[in-house]
Symmetry: C2
Subunit: 237 residues, 2 copies
Amino acid sequence: MNIADQVYSAADSATQDRAQTIRDQLRDAIVDRRLAPGTKLSEGEVGTLFDVSRTVARAALQMLSFEGLVRTERNRGAFVANPSPEEARQVFASRRLIEPGIAIAACGRVTAADIVAFRAQLDEEGRFIAERGPHARRSEIKASGDFHLLLASVAGNAILQRFMEELVARSSLVIALYGRSGASACGHSEHTGIVGALESRDSGLASRLMLHHIDHIEADLDLRVRAGPALREALNF
Amino acid sequence: MNIADQVYSAADSATQDRAQTIRDQLRDAIVDRRLAPGTKLSEGEVGTLFDVSRTVARAALQMLSFEGLVRTERNRGAFVANPSPEEARQVFASRRLIEPGIAIAACGRVTAADIVAFRAQLDEEGRFIAERGPHARRSEIKASGDFHLLLASVAGNAILQRFMEELVARSSLVIALYGRSGASACGHSEHTGIVGALESRDSGLASRLMLHHIDHIEADLDLRVRAGPALREALNF
DNA sequence: TGCACAAAAATCGTATGCAATCTTTTTTGC
DNA sequence: GCAAAAAAGATTGCATACGATTTTTGTGCA
């Protein structure tokens, strides 16, 4: 487990909680699949890696458990979540409800500076798509998620923004698990289209594009159950 | 602070976490306004009241902090949330996005047993509306929230259900803070209408009724800022 | 060899202790 | 008498300790 690559990257803003820093690092590692689903995250190990006591490590794991990225079992420990196809469908059903509305709200509040940020984000995405290999693919998933988070922040609703943070993180897990490598590039062009709609303040178009975009992402998944649940459980542990 | 009235009401299912039990009790107390916004919830006090160590009390407070019912300040402690009008608007904006979709989903999955449960819930609401006094009003707010939670559970999406739990809890806080006592009774008839739409599986109607219902709840609030922010802050502490 | 059972190790749940930080009260200087 | 500084008190942040539970290892017996 090589999580703590740059443990102190965010430690300059050390005024904040250490547990939160650890949570962020672990979340990145999970979303990037440096930590595979089902991996055990023992409190002691996490604490040692980040050089904190179990108390702090436990708090970080509790946070991740709330976000659905980690599943905790009493007296057994915490494990990286292993979302079922049903869970995956629920994640995308939730996004279908929320994100078109976020797109509409963003249309009403987007500034020129935001557009610049969106363009930079799109460039970043394009860079990773050009590359090949598993590392680039992970970065691509992450960048794609960041686009949606940027949109949520522009929409200006802190509650929805937090919901989206959770949904995007879980989506990344789902995509990494069930994604067919194929059509992820088409997501980039769809993002570009959404930014265009934002720029022209066309909320109806932005909403429609977003809905289609989510449909496309989900359509790219292979959510058929691969084996009987019992076997599945057995293989995952 | 007389929270721990029936601490051991849920202790029979003691297989579960104690922190979770405490969280539930505190949440009920906050939603019922037995704990007023701004009230300090010190770890030591909570621990003493529920007869657990600060460790457990702290975990419960952390959970409530995630749900937005409690605000924690570093090195200062936890306080019952005091949502601003802006926060209140965001809560209802979020509900407007999510709940019509939940109503539609519920239409596709509602069973006869569910309808029976809804009827029982409506009866319960009616009972509190008939009564008067502050206690009945709190119970009324709670029962009204329970209706929405029941709907969310019928919709069958665990993620949205959790989001709704948070939104309903925060709504109860907001209503208690900014509600004009007037039109809460009309909510009951709207609930009845929604159940009717569910029964006839009319998802379009259910969705529309829900949207109007949320609009009505928010319209019943007085979200004008009462004083300058500085003074407001000063008064709240 | 394979299985059942017991001992050992690992891990979690929780309580408690200490240092750091914040708040309040007291003291001191003007 | 009042403002500012200093001390006392309270509360949080974090680490550590210990009992409880789970998992693993080891051993005897069929």
